[in-house]
């Protein structure tokens, strides 16, 4: 990589004039060390950082969960006060939804999607870095509330008017509304970037219906984000105006209807559920065929049902409001739409089982997590159909039956899928596999703990235990299953510790040379990310692959012989690209992090003192100014075409290296 070469003193303009490059506008050039990460625009480093930060918040959200479970371990628990409990359950949800599952999906989307479509980066690399840093600052900002008078206490759903200054006089809900606003900017930026990337930067021959299912599901999710985030943005603007500038959007005394908030929140909130689950559906649609050694059963049906879920997800939001007072026509309509969204979801489940049926199943850890998604998500999906029946929901809503349901969907579904993805793609990202033995311990302990923690909540909910109650009485009859659930949560904790140990041990072992270097294609993979070396070279592809089929890489390895029977004709590791090219890449930049740093200051200013917003604005405008003056790629940085220190390798497997590289080079402009 050309990043290491010394910077020339003089910047040459296109006009031929020369001007000394001033300090502020010099570009970062670090190829190693922490600055190589902070200023990077490389989608892989950004993906890894999304994942690492999300895992940090997973730890914190897990601690919040443990505090909740400790409080409910016995009747009249005294671990937390009512006030602390309300803040903890609010932030547990906010953390897990916005700071864990969404960014973990963003981590995989950033890292894997460009590789699966044969691209060298995303369409707008600097924008990608901006999204990451805004997300990081949003997480810090949200949790600053703990140190500045207490966390948000209105629930993640923040129903008006309980969130107004009158009823929630602390600053917690300001941190909530402004923090989610900032996090929303990050997701919005990311969604535009990934949509443009997937639509424009696919390898030659990769039509939409040859695209890997994971990329497909990420594309659907980005559209959901793009269209749903503006709705929550509006809702949060109204809330912030009410709280900060004494507006009356949710002031009943001034004629407001509090149901406005519920509609806005759930029009965002329900597509959000699919934003959380579809990436994991994508992941298992990759792993199940690979570990079954069979193609995905009904590729087009799985893709279309994923897109159908994306569409139908917009027509079910009011099922969160069956007891809010909608009237029977609205309730009946949303009851019916909610039932029928089960159809495309059910089709996916059965197609996955059919994928495994008749296969040759290799139970790696990634496969075990994938199968557990299929079974555990099914339980969550079926209880979901039960709530779709509006009369039944009037007994179930706001009880632990719902808590059980969405933990089976989000933990048993989304998180299980994300763990499958981690074990599956770890060798591609880091060059070594996680230990499979420890991974199996991780899996079994988490599966046991998960079912112990959340299974009993079905019973508790049917017994009538209400959500968000900081205590229950000894006369309520909820003791036994609450105790079981709390013990289960400790198993989850132990399982996650095993996972952490696995990461550290595998990494140390790799450093010490005891854990072998992962080959390019450790799982006999089917998609393009396995057609390049592990870990992924900085430039991803030496040459852009030409795609002729779904699972193109697999078809390069297995071809029919003269009798028509499929035979292995090549080993993936032998035909994978070796990563010895040095093409031109987008240059790192200071500006994304500078621009992003302005947002938390602006938000703090809105809570405390507008002068702080002024400081934030300086960062924001300064970042924009520097960004706009900076070319997307540093003209000084080494360029493959210049051929000075890294001439194209004459042994490049594909003859059209320079032409293929051009295709990619033109695209990154952001």
């Amino acid at each position: 990589m050309a990043m290491t070469e010394e910077r020339p003193e003089i910047l040459e303009l296109e006009t031929g004039e020369t001007t000394p490059s001033t300090g502020a506008f010099a570009r970062p050039t670090h190829a190693t060390g922490w600055r190589a990460w902070i200023f990077t625009v490389d989608h892989k480093k950004i993906g890894i950082m999304y994942g690492a930060v999300a895992m940090f918040w997973f730890l914190w959200g897990g601690i919040e969960a443990m505090l909740i479970r400790m409080q409910l371990f016995t009747p009249n628990g005294t671990v937390l006060t009512a006030n602390q409990y309300n803040q903890i359950f609010t932030m547990h949800a906010v953390t897990m939804v916005f700071l864990v599952v969404m960014p973990l999906a963003a981590a995989f989307a950033n890292y894997i999607v460009p590789l699966q479509i044969g691209a060298r980066d995303v369409a707008f690399p600097r924008l990608n870095a901006l999204g990451l840093w805004i997300f990081i600052f949003a997480g810090i900002f949200l949790n600053l509330s703990w140190f500045l008078g207490g966390g948000p206490d209105g629930g993640w759903f923040a129903y008006a008017p309980n969130t107004s200054v009158a009823y929630s006089p602390g600053n917690g809900m300001d941190f909530y509304s402004l923090g989610l606003q900032i996090a929303g900017i990050a997701s919005l930026i990311g969604s535009i970037n990934l949509i443009v990337t997937v639509v424009n930067m696919r390898a030659p021959g990769m039509t939409m219906l040859r695209m890997p299912v994971f990329t497909w599901m990420i594309l659907v999710v980005q559209f959901l984000l793009l269209l749903s985030l503006p709705v929550i943005t509006v809702a949060l603007v109204l809330l912030s105006f009410d709280r900060t500038f004494d507006a009356n959007f949710f002031n009943v005394a001034m004629g407001a209807d509090p149901l406005l908030w519920q509609h806005l929140f759930w029009i965002f909130g329900h597509p959000e559920v699919y934003i959380l689950i579809l990436p994991s559906f994508g992941i298992v649609s990759e792993t199940l065929p690979v570990f079954s050694r069979k193609p995905l059963f009904g590729y087009s049906v799985i893709v279309i049902s994923g897109a159908a879920i994306g569409f139908m997800g917009w027509g079910v939001w009011a099922h969160h409001m069956f007891v809010s007072g909608l009237g029977p026509v609205g309730v009946a309509a949303f009851s019916a739409t909610t039932m029928f969204i089960a159809v495309p979801t059910g089709v996916k489940i059965l197609n996955w089982i059919a994928t495994m049926w008749g296969g040759n199943l290799r139970f790696t850890v990634a496969m075990m997590f994938s199968v557990s998604l299929v079974s555990m998500f099914t339980i969550g999906g079926l209880s979901g159909v039960m709530h779709a029946i509006a009369p039944a929901d009037t007994q179930q809503t706001d009880t632990y039956f719902i808590v059980a349901h969405f933990h089976y969907v989000l933990f048993g579904g989304a998180l299980m899928g994300l763990f499958a993805g981690m074990y599956y793609w770890w060798p591609k990202a880091f060059g070594y596999q996680l230990n499979e033995g420890l991974g199996k311990w991780h899996f079994w302990i988490v599966l046991l703990g998960f079912n112990m923690a959340f299974g009993p909540m079905h019973i508790l909910g049917l017994q009538g235990m209400a959500r968000r109650h900081s205590q229950y009485g000894p006369e309520d009859g909820f003791d036994f299953w609450n105790a079981v659930a709390t013990i289960g949560s400790f198993f989850i904790l132990i399982g996650m510790i095993v996972f952490a140990v696995n990461i550290v041990r595998s990494w140390l072992g790799y450093k010490a040379g005891k854990v072998p270097q992962a080959p390019a294609d450790p799982w006999d993979g089917r998609t393009l990310e396995w057609a390049i070396a592990s870990p992924t070279p900085e430039h991803n592809f030496d040459y852009v692959p030409i795609v002729t089929d779904v699972d193109d890489f697999w078809h390069k390895k297995y071809q029919p012989d003269e009798t028509g029977k499929l035979r292995k004709v090549a080993d993936g590791n032998d035909i994978a690209q070796i990563g010895d090219q040095h093409p031109h890449l987008p240059s790192p930049s200071y500006w994304p992090i500078v621009l992003a740093a302005g947002l938390p200051f602006i938000a703090l200013g809105l809570i405390y003192n507008l002068w702080l917003s002024g400081i934030g604005l300086v960062f924001l405008l300064g970042g924009m100014f520097g960004w706009s003056l900076e070319p997307a790629t540093d003209p000084d940085a080494g360029h493959g075409d210049h051929g000075d220190d890294h001439a194209p390798d004459p042994d490049t497997p594909d003859g059209d290296e320079s032409e293929a590289a051009e295709v990619v080079e033109e695209a990154p402009v952001g």
Partner: protein, 389 residues
């Protein structure tokens, strides 16, 4: 029924103990564990949706069970398929790595089948559900009771003579006659709450600025427990309520009793308490006939309303139904009542400095004043028409 299972298992246990064998010990242990599990799993508390009593609750229960059985059937089918796949198609060590399983890319007929079967099942559920939604909404011919939620207790108002003004205003306990389908007009005076007495009907939100109609009924007298189930702030967990269902005679007697205005007490201590009440409590609380200055709302509370204490002692509980007003032996729970008056924020999470909940009187009232005040409160009303069993 559950208790019977437990007793019989204990009986078995006792016979086994005499034998003293290892087998006996094992059976005894597992028997005990089973009994414990059976007891614990079926243990139901005061809130109990699994034992519907009201007509609406029974209708909901039927649909819920139907959907539960269908969901379980599908769940078992999927679980069986997954288990078969795991057992039957797992790779064996002696598998030829170069031998691929049959490569099937899909099967339109199969996929169409497992799209249509769920469609049929869901159409069936929709046909059951939609009429029920309309059935459960709307009003009945019965009398109307106004339900108001506020942080963190429930108020119930009765317009007995139907002249448009409330004649009985009570707190925490909604008293209804047996067998009559009562119309509720549910409303909130501050944030959103949700009214839920699961044995009588599902829940319905109490939303400020809106009136929601809902119906409850019970074919048998008794006390049924309920609570607020929409998160309503700090003391959401402590906003309970009770439905007291009375025979029609008892109900009429209760109405007549409640309609009587309160009078000034005669005993010296109660009279001192009465005067203390007038000094410290009347800016929030109303006692019909004697202290009505707060009847049109008060500025000391965000919700503008505190529990009406007329005939307090005819209720079974106080402070959002958090505490029993009577001990098991039928005597008044003076200790708890006194503690509550002394330092309410200590007994129940609240935020009086933000006008949410009752203030503390620790600094204001001395011990003898507290005793007098409680003595006065004990004179309000008579006995509850029905005691919790």
């Amino acid at each position: 029924m559950k208790v019977k299972i437990n007793t019989s298992t204990e009986g078995t246990t006792r016979t086994m103990r005499k034998q003293g064998s290892l087998f006996g010990k094992t059976v005894r242990l597992s028997g005990l564990l089973l009994a414990a599990a059976a007891l614990a799993s079926c243990a139901t508390g005061r809130i109990d949706p699994t034992d519907p009593v009201g007509e609406n609750a029974k209708q909901i229960d039927g649909i819920m069970r139907l959907s539960g059985y269908m969901a379980s059937a599908v769940g078992i089918f999927v679980a069986a398929a997954v288990i078969i796949v795991i057992v039957k198609f797992r790779a064996r060590p002696d598998d030829d790595p170069n031998e691929l399983p049959k490569q099937i890319h899909g099967n339109k007929k199969a996929e169409l089948t497992w799209t249509l079967i769920p469609v049929v099942m869901l159409v069936f559920l929709a046909i059951v559900t939609i009429p029920a939604v309309f059935d459960l909404s709307g009003k009945s011919d019965g009398r109307t009771i106004k339900v108001e939620g506020q942080q963190w207790w429930w108020q119930f108002s009765y317009d007995v003579d139907e002249d448009g003004t409330d004649d009985i205003v009570t707190a925490n306990e909604i008293v209804i006659p047996v067998g009559e389908e009562i119309n509720l007009e549910i409303h909130s005076n501050d944030v959103i709450h949700s009214f839920w007495i699961p044995q009588l009907n599902g829940k319905k939100d109490a939303v400020p600025g809106r009136i929601h109609h809902w119906r409850i009924s019970s074919p048998e007298p008794g006390i049924f427990y309920g609570e607020c189930v929409e998160f309503c702030g700090l003391s959401h967990a402590n906003m309970q309520m009770r439905a007291v269902v009375l025979n029609s005679n008892d109900y009429e007697a209760w109405v007549q009793q409640q309609l009587q205005p309160s009078t000034i007490p005669t005993s010296a201590a109660a009279k001192r308490g009465y005067e203390l009440f007038g000094r410290h409590c009347v800016s929030c609380h109303v006692i019909d006939g004697v202290y009505e200055s707060a009847a049109d709302g008060n500025a000391n509370l965000l919700s503008g309303v505190a529990p009406n204490l007329t005939h307090l002692m005819t209720r079974t509980s106080f402070a959002g139904s958090l505490f029993e007003l009577y001990n098991d032996d039928g005597s008044a729970n003076i200790a708890e009542l006194r503690e509550w008056v002394r330092d309410a924020p200590d007994r129940k999470p609240s935020r009086p400095d933000n006008r949410q909940g009752m203030i503390s009187f620790v600094e204001t009232l001395n011990n003898s004043e507290l005793d007098d005040l409680v003595t006065y409160l004990l004179t309000l009303g008579g006995k509850p028409p029905l005691m919790p069993s």
